[in-house]
Amino acid sequence: MADVLDRVSKIVVDRLGVDASEVKPEASFKEDLGADSLDVVELVMELEDEFELEISDEDAEKIATVGDVVNYINSKQ
């Protein structure tokens, strides 16, 4: 779990230019981390590469927070 959160956190920090301390499970990409729709699309692309999985458009639309991502990845592994 911690490992997934760390890896997700690194991508989010790189992509959105936020401080690692802001990347908490309850943080919303759009509300708290300043992401726009295209940023979220890009994040999903990078997560797919990092975790070697395919996230369907339907599932991607449900992703709102850092915790959503971690839970999704854990459920697929």
Binding site: L38, V41, E42, M45
Partner: protein, 246 residues
Amino acid sequence: MLNEKSVLVTGASRGIGRAIALYFARNGAKVAVNYSGSEAKANEVVNEIKENGGTAFAIKADISSSEDVTNMVKTVVEEFGSLDVLVNNAGITRDNLLMRMKEEDWDAVINTNLKGVFLTTKAVTRQMMKQRKGRIINIASIVGVSGNAGQANYVAAKAGVIGLTKTAAKELSSRGITVNAIAPGFIETDMTGKLEEGIKSEMLRSIPLARFGQPDDIASAAAFLASDASSYITGQTLHVDGGMVM
């Protein structure tokens, strides 16, 4: 001008697409020559590029099929290591007067000429977003701006491509990707070669520069839009038509 840029040209076995593939290769680009039916013609284009010391390969894909398009883009990225420029050129015609146009002729033209552009654009965007750089050039048509009797399906598709160009330009601008269209007028290809002399001379009168265009007129405009020289241009439709529609 296009040194080492990796380029995918759809419908590149004949006509304008062929001219674009050859012109880009002459200017240093690596070219993926897409075709749907004419394998032999596509191979001729590839061979001509290679004989002149360029890099190219032929790739079959029906651009109205998302599966074909996804596989094609994957192959090009694997082959070239990047994808810098997409030229959406593939297109078909099924002309008839509106009253006589069959539903399947409408669907076929919309599927290839409009949906095809959507599918290829969507497929290359992932790679270009990662690169933070990319050029998409859509070959529309001047009739997509002016309308043309007997071509309701073709005109609707080409007008759609111009709208798609503007929208993609707005969505992708923040990622360093520009999207522009070229609207060719009457270009001398197999298509216009079939027209009767009477119709041709009639058409000539509507062209201020008083001559038909050549495929290379479109290719050189496309090369400009693919080059670093055009980095401040996006969402535009460049008329290359001898002044026919202003």
